[in-house]
Amino acid sequence: MSGDRRDQDVIVVGGGVIGAAIAYGLTRRGVRTLVLDESDRAFRAARGNFGLVWVQGKGVSNIQYAAWTRRSADLWAEFNDEIKERTRIDTRYLRSGGLHLCLDEEELASRSLLMANMAEASEGVFSYEMLDHDELAHRLPGVGPSVAGASFSAQDGHVDPLSLLHALHTAFKSTGGMLISAPVTKLCYEKGGFEAKTGKGSFYSGKIVLAAGLGSRALAPQLGLNVPVRPERGQILVTERLKPFLDYPTIFIRQTEAGSVLLGDSHEEVGFDDGTDIKVMSAIANRARLIFPRLERTRILRAWGALRILTPDGLPVYQQSRECPGAFTATGHSGVTLAAAHTLDFARFVADGEMPAALDSLGEDRFHVH
């Protein structure tokens, strides 16, 4: 056991969708990696995810983030093929194109402006279409009369986020990775190496990646990092299985391949409460029946709340510690969309020990008060 404990190249703190993607990215490059994961009842955004692999609307205020998102979305097919081949787990990934529905004309107008700005900032790489109600109804038969229209981007897609998490863990293990369920109590840096203290003893490595979601905030200062994240609750309802009727994912409603329909999404500032709330659930259900009147006749089987991991500007934070070189963090929202880039790119940055200039603006310096 002591041999296992001392011989890791990298420790990844966090077994969520970000931690697992990076950890697998490391083991597939031959880097010996240990994941320290929290307990079964931990706050797990990865288990509450809606499953969008989403480009439109991402990075309106930050072109590096927009480019990073597009890169990941473009890598997704190749990434998905690889994990499917390795694990035989089908994540149901489909780059179907996706819709952002607008419930009134005003929303549709401002959406149109936003999309135009995004396309311009991307120098034409981001493509989209605006659809009015009739055009939308053509693509989404049965859409309610009160939906004004939508923006559509062929660059969007969706995936079963739970199968993705399962596949990443399976791929990690099959490439020699080790996972221990033991919440980290303290992280220490001593020249050239790191110690992670847990209830199951200490573990040592040459490098460390902090991908602990909301837990990153408290652990970051121990590595000379700053990860000012806060929770934002989202609730999701899931219906019984219905015959396929929805060919495209939308930000509020998505039908899975098995037929269940996921209904989201709420944005609530309720601290560390990942429960459900009947008023919010009722509002989600009401919006769902406005969008698709046919849903009124279905039954809700389950509901859950989960906590998004948000920085002050909502974008993820990627940083190598200046104080403790070899310590990295990758923390934030959108871990599903970014999974391909985390496995194929970010793991390489960690292995090489260097962050690229293309992610400069997503570092922690942006949180300093000037």
């Binding site: 009842r41 399962h166 221990i180 008023k279 006749r297 089987l301």
Partner: protein, 463 residues
Amino acid sequence: MTKHYDIIVIGAGPAGMSASRTAAAQGARVLVLDEQSSPGGQIYRAIEKPHNQRRRELGSSYQDGVPLVHGFRQSELDYVNAASVWQLSADLEVGYSRDGIAQLVRADRIIVATGAQERPVPIPGWTKRGVMTVGAAQILLKESSVVASDAVFAGSGPLLYLAVHQYLELGVPVKAVLDLTPAKNYLGALPALFGARADFAKILEGWQWKRAIGAAGIPLLTGVDAVRISGEKSVESVDYRRRGEWQAITCDTAFLHLGVVPNINISMAAGCDCHWSHNQACWTVTVDDWFNSSVAGVSVAGDGVSIGGAAAAEAQGGIAALGALHALGRIDASERDRLAAAYRIRLRKEMGIRHFLDLLFRPADRLRVPREADTVVCRCEEVTAGQIRETLDLGCCGPNQLKSFSRTGMGPCQGRFCGHTVSELIGEASGLPISEVGYFRLRSPIKPLPLKELADLAHSSKE
């Protein structure tokens, strides 16, 4: 405006009826929500139907329910039948549906009396057509007088023999009875029989049922230690192993029964602490002497806490109601204790035999936790024991991660059929005590809820 009561009782079985009667007798405003069409719970199901009241075949204990239901009907309280409770929140808001309308109600105290459910019997082939639980056989008999001829009964525990005996009295042919009680349990339970001033009348009744079954010429095979259902899609035979040899009995219907376990979904969803009972091999709700759970204002009584049977449940319901009335300031401590004294004597007597029954009828490990890789554990999502063990091998940290990875427990039954097996499978793989392994995290709605009803709660559909 949300209606507000002093006490809401969830369930109108022995514990719920007793609790609500006791509370109403002290002038509390009581609402009783029950999912059946008439009061009685599982044990006294449909007892108000005239044809059932005359039926001696249903057994003497069934008739014990008559005065209880009568007293319940005489009480001044709001009783809502056919109500599906899909939420109990930690701040004491109850959500339920009836006649296509969802409603929210509140109370200062909640008494959960959701009773027991049958323990799942995850043996090879248990999901085939024609396999039912003994409890389902009882519902068909009591509600609709429907019976199945030439069935094989396999299992363990008093309800198994009661059900076979009822069939016998009704003249319905039974193909065979396979007793799955582990032989070693008889020896293990013996000290409890003498040590606990056990209720010999009950044990005698059970023995008489057994004798009557034998006298009627129905093959009754004890010492069966493994069983499986064979057939293409529906039951063609029940195969069993006895003294190391496999035999088959052809039949169209198999009734399985391995006792009952507390129905904990509502309590768990409200956040009540639960722990694993080794003797009963099930999750039980952690309560104090007055049946208060860990959630302030929520009491849990009857078989929904831990299995004690109808008479114990009736006593517990009374005690829980008195505790709640005292907490509401309606009775003082001495009045509470005085009124509770008779219930406590009754409860002590009932619990005497319970320890003996727990030890005697504790199902064998292999019947609770399938050894065969292809035996289905989660019926809704068709996940097998082998798939679960494989997923756990990834270093999966508990039931909720397992649920995410394998969809086990994600279906409409919300884990009612697989939750216990899953906790035990994880305990087996990790070596952790089951109480530490934990259970699925349950959240409202704990029962399927029509989207229209949910949307209408906060938004009138006419808007």
